[in-house]
């Protein structure tokens, strides 16, 4: 038994697991900033998209079109390599953020998730029944109160499943930030692979951690759905 435990402790996969685990906080840090920021901005963008101001709506529509039509990798490279090559930016205050791969990753991930999230929320806002808005209006709600009390709560809880999907895609998307030399889990797994020439062991360790992270995310979304959709609970 002890021999067996020792053999596990000496195995490459066990050692790699803890090495990759040390990159977990970097992955989570990326998510902790870009997800809340993306959520708020996506809501604002969705409201702008459905607004009656044509110019605003058109601008946001074309922003969404461009971001959804190009791979995330292009966006990350454009911000990390592209913006860094402009002299004007290198000399401005923006350079304090853009010289760090971490902040480039955060900016790219946020830009990406805002486009997808705005489209999801737009669907939610447009699917609200007119009668609910009208009853709010007849109660004398102002525009802001209507938004805060009726439109947003109903829209958000309606799109929770699809927004949950987007959140999981974001967890997976953080792995691309490793290509800008930021050392999160995929980056560390890649480094281990280069050192030990044992690709399977290194990447399986990372894969298990990503699966775990996504599992937590699914549970979190399930809890939110349960909490905010009480009328859909099976047994209450």
């Amino acid at each position: 038994m002890i021999e067996f435990l020792n053999s596990i402790q000496n195995s490459l996969i066990y050692k790699n697991f803890f090495l990759v685990l040390s990159g977990l906080d970097n992955t989570i840090l990326l998510l902790l900033i870009s997800l809340p920021l993306g959520f708020v901005l996506a809501l604002l963008f969705a409201l702008g998209r459905v607004s009656k101001i044509t110019l605003l709506s058109r601008t946001i529509a074309s922003y969404i079109f461009v971001i959804r039509g190009t791979p995330l990798l292009v966006q990350i490279y454009l911000i990390y390599f592209g913006l860094g090559s402009v002299k004007l930016i290198r000399e401005s205050f923006l350079w304090y953020a853009l010289k760090e791969p971490f902040w480039c990753g955060v900016i790219a991930l946020t830009i990406n998730t805002v486009a997808y999230g705005a489209e999801i929320f737009r669907g939610g806002i447009q699917s609200i029944e007119k009668s609910q808005v009208e009853s709010g209006l007849s109660l004398g709600f102002g525009k802001f109160l209507l938004l805060r009390k009726i439109i947003l709560p109903i829209a958000i809880r309606k799109v929770l499943p699809s927004y949950g999907n987007e959140l999981i895609l974001m967890v997976k998307a953080t792995s691309l930030v490793s290509l800008t030399t930021y050392m999160e889990m995929t980056g560390i797994a890649r480094k281990i692979m280069a050192k030990t020439f044992a690709p399977v062991e290194a990447f399986i360790a990372a894969g298990i951690l990503y699966l775990f992270l996504n599992f937590l995310m699914v549970q979190f979304v399930k809890y939110l759905e349960w909490k905010y959709n009480p009328h859909l609970r099976l047994n209450n």
């Binding site: 461009v66 039509g69 990798l73 390599f81 090559s85 002299k87 690709p199």
Partner: protein, 235 residues
């Protein structure tokens, strides 16, 4: 800052290189979409026949691949694929070194990823076919083969087309990750060109525009196909 004059065709610019790279992206996308659909059909089949083992394997495959970043899957197949192929070849008594070329690895890696998405789409559209139709076909004395080709697949294609269109867009964008394996597609070409010309902004914007064109055009194609396949049905 911008060197868009470097995008001319011929020796002076990168135009022809980008054209070839775009074709390579399209080739990888089409090949892996095809292979992915084939894998997806097998996965769906494993899920719907009443067999616990095949269903477990299929569920395990789709859950794991969809829960792990695409980049990780590509790394795993790129760095681990050769070893797997060589160990399989050893079983058949072939002991020499085998190296898969980049295109093969790229196609397999993207196909493995896109098959998980396609399988969900296909399974949903298979379940949308009413059981009565299959029973009716059986009552007419059709064998399994002709039930599949004459009753099931035409309807699955119609139901699945919008979903398959989405998977195609995802697959097309996933091919950009293949650049890490050294296959020269749009992404890789833009990195090479920007390293030579010291102007990343130019070539990355070119790459973005090319991807945008590809996704827009293929979106149109899928819309036309959808209209074609839902003739006689009000959508």
């Amino acid at each position: 800052m911008f060197k868009f004059d470097k995008l001319v065709f011929g020796d002076a610019g990168w135009g022809d290189e980008f054209l070839i790279a775009t074709l390579m992206t399209l080739l990888v996308s089409i090949l892996s979409m095809g292979l992915g659909l084939f894998l997806a059909i097998i996965t769906v089949w494993a899920k719907i026949i009443q067999n616990r083992i095949t269903r477990f394997i299929a569920n395990f495959y789709t859950t794991v691949i969809r829960g792990v970043p695409e980049l990780l899957v590509i790394y795993l197949i790129f760095f681990g694929g050769n070893a797997v192929v060589m160990s399989i070849a050893k079983v058949f008594g072939y002991n020499k070194y085998i190296e898969l070329n980049a295109l093969t690895i790229a196609t397999i890696a993207i196909a493995v990823i896109s098959a998980t998405y396609s399988s969900e789409v296909l399974r949903a559209s298979y379940l949308a076919i009413s059981k009565g139709q299959i029973e009716a076909a059986r009552a007419l004395g059709m064998n399994k083969f002709s039930i599949f080709f004459k009753v099931i697949s035409p309807q699955v294609i119609r139901h699945a087309l919008p979903g398959i269109g989405n998977v195609w867009q995802i697959t097309l964008k996933d091919t950009s990750l293949i650049s890490v394996t050294g296959l020269v597609e749009i992404m890789r070409q833009s990195r090479i060109s920007s390293n030579v010309e010291h102007s990343p902004l130019t070539f990355l914007i070119t790459a973005a525009i090319l991807y945008l064109c590809l996704t827009t055009i293929s979106g149109r194609v899928f819309k036309t196909l959808e209209v074609n396949y839902s003739k006689g049905f009000s959508t």
